[in-house]
Symmetry: C2
Subunit: 270 residues, 2 copies
């Protein structure tokens, strides 16, 4: 059974996993060094545990203990019990949901394992954690098989990605590509049609590509580019097909997560 | 021509429009009282001006002046020039894009004007400003005609909604419904098929509804519910049809903005 440990000193070293959660560069190095990630909110914490991730510790306000009791009872890890003001001082923000857990990182899937899939989303250098989380949530919800991330794409286990995904990052297979230059070639050799989402005039429309896939079913790897800049010319040049969602009213683009949702729905296997 | 006014005191009263931008409840009352909203980033500021919104003042770091010069030259409003540290002290966060404008609020469309539309998204009590902004951006980009907001839905002119919409809130017609109880009746009388998005077992699938609309074209008002709770039972009971996006892998839902994007794309008029 987990041990409840009241803490009243914000400088207490046992809270080291939870410091300055809004400081992205600090958290990146701290979490990589310590091999941890942060799950926030009762539902997300529960899903992480159900998916087999191991908690290192919990940081809870008193009133959240009851809801997590079934999980805490099965575990032998420290549960730091703090008031909300102290949680705010340590983490640097008001923890609305009052419940945080520090979990052990684990690499659960490899790119090689994902090559058997039929439908993959491939994120190039998407830097916003909420976009990566939202893409993983909709990829999973809409029945696609997994997500590949280029070397510089944002970390799916970063707190805000985890939260935006509502825990889908724990279940949907995803993996980091280690070779940005040659990764698409690997996908092609594995039988994928590499389709790049880009708002180019000469791109085929999403509906035309969907009709093409319905007539001749194939494996699809769908490339999504950086917020703002879109896909690199290196990746665009390698794509088998460039696909666009027609834009109305002079709007220059959809948000990348919205575009992924529309494309995943329209191109799903039926 | 706008007047450049260097300011070095964070307590300077002339910066009153820009204080504590992250304090939602303070900003709500301050912006309503003063009749203002905040536009953030050069692109969004430019779009607000192009759409005819009038600036009250600008808050700029030195290096942003050049980019906004064509706009500033046409205006007769104060431009407060500050360094980034001072901007951070006043606003309460690091202003990445260095450019803020305080703009005069204006009500540009009414619900009555929107009743001539063919395709409307109707947001019930969506509370997250980024969701409202994202919904307005995708509604506009995917060729729908406008957005209606229930009385308690988040404000499209709140800074984060404006930013997430990338300025689409300035161009796409949207209006506040003043009657939550009777609003759907007004839509029906105006000839809309009221379609509620909800993950109910007995709902028709999005594809089935799209096929139905293709066979028999109609005006559609698409109801989107609160994050978490979804649509109220009062609205669900009044819908002509309940529509769902089938979910895979036990994922319990899509984010409301992703669901709106998928539905707007699939149900658009062609």
């Amino acid at each position: 059974m987990a041990t409840l440990i009241p803490i009243t000193d914000p400088a207490d070293e046992r809270l080291g996993d939870y410091v300055r959660l809004r400081d992205v560069s600090l958290r990146r190095s701290l979490e990589a060094e310590q091999g941890l990630f942060i799950a926030e909110g009762e539902k997300v914490i529960r899903r992480a545990c159900e998916a087999g991730y191991e908690p290192r510790s919990f940081l809870l306000a008193e009133r959240w203990i009851a809801g997590l009791r079934p999980i805490l009872d099965r575990l032998d890890v420290p549960v730091y019990v703090v008031d909300e003001a102290l949680a705010e001082r340590v983490t640097g923000f008001h923890v609305h949901r009052g419940a945080l857990a520090s979990m052990k990182r684990a690499t659960r899937w490899s790119m090689t394992e994902l090559l058997d899939a039929r439908r993959l989303v491939v994120c190039e250098d998407i830097v916003d954690h909420t976009n990566v989380g939202a893409i993983i949530r909709c990829t999973a919800a809409l029945g696609w098989d997994g997500v590949l991330l280029a070397p510089r794409a944002a970390d799916p286990l970063y707190r805000r990605a985890v939260k935006t995904s509502m825990g889908a990052v724990f279940f949907l297979p995803w993996a980091r590509m280690d070779d940005w230059g040659g990764g698409l070639e690997t996908l092609k050799r594995a039988g994928f049609t590499v389709a790049a989402m880009a708002l180019r005039e000469d791109a085929v429309t999403l509906d035309a590509f969907a009709a093409d896939l319905a007539a001749e079913p194939r494996k699809v790897a769908l490339l999504m580019g950086t917020e703002g800049g879109g896909l690199s010319s290196h990746w665009l040049a390698q794509a088998d097909v460039v696909v666009r969602i027609p834009m109305a009213r002079g709007i220059d683009s959809l948000n990348v997560a919205a575009a992924a949702a529309v494309a995943c729905y329209t191109l799903r296997e039926r």
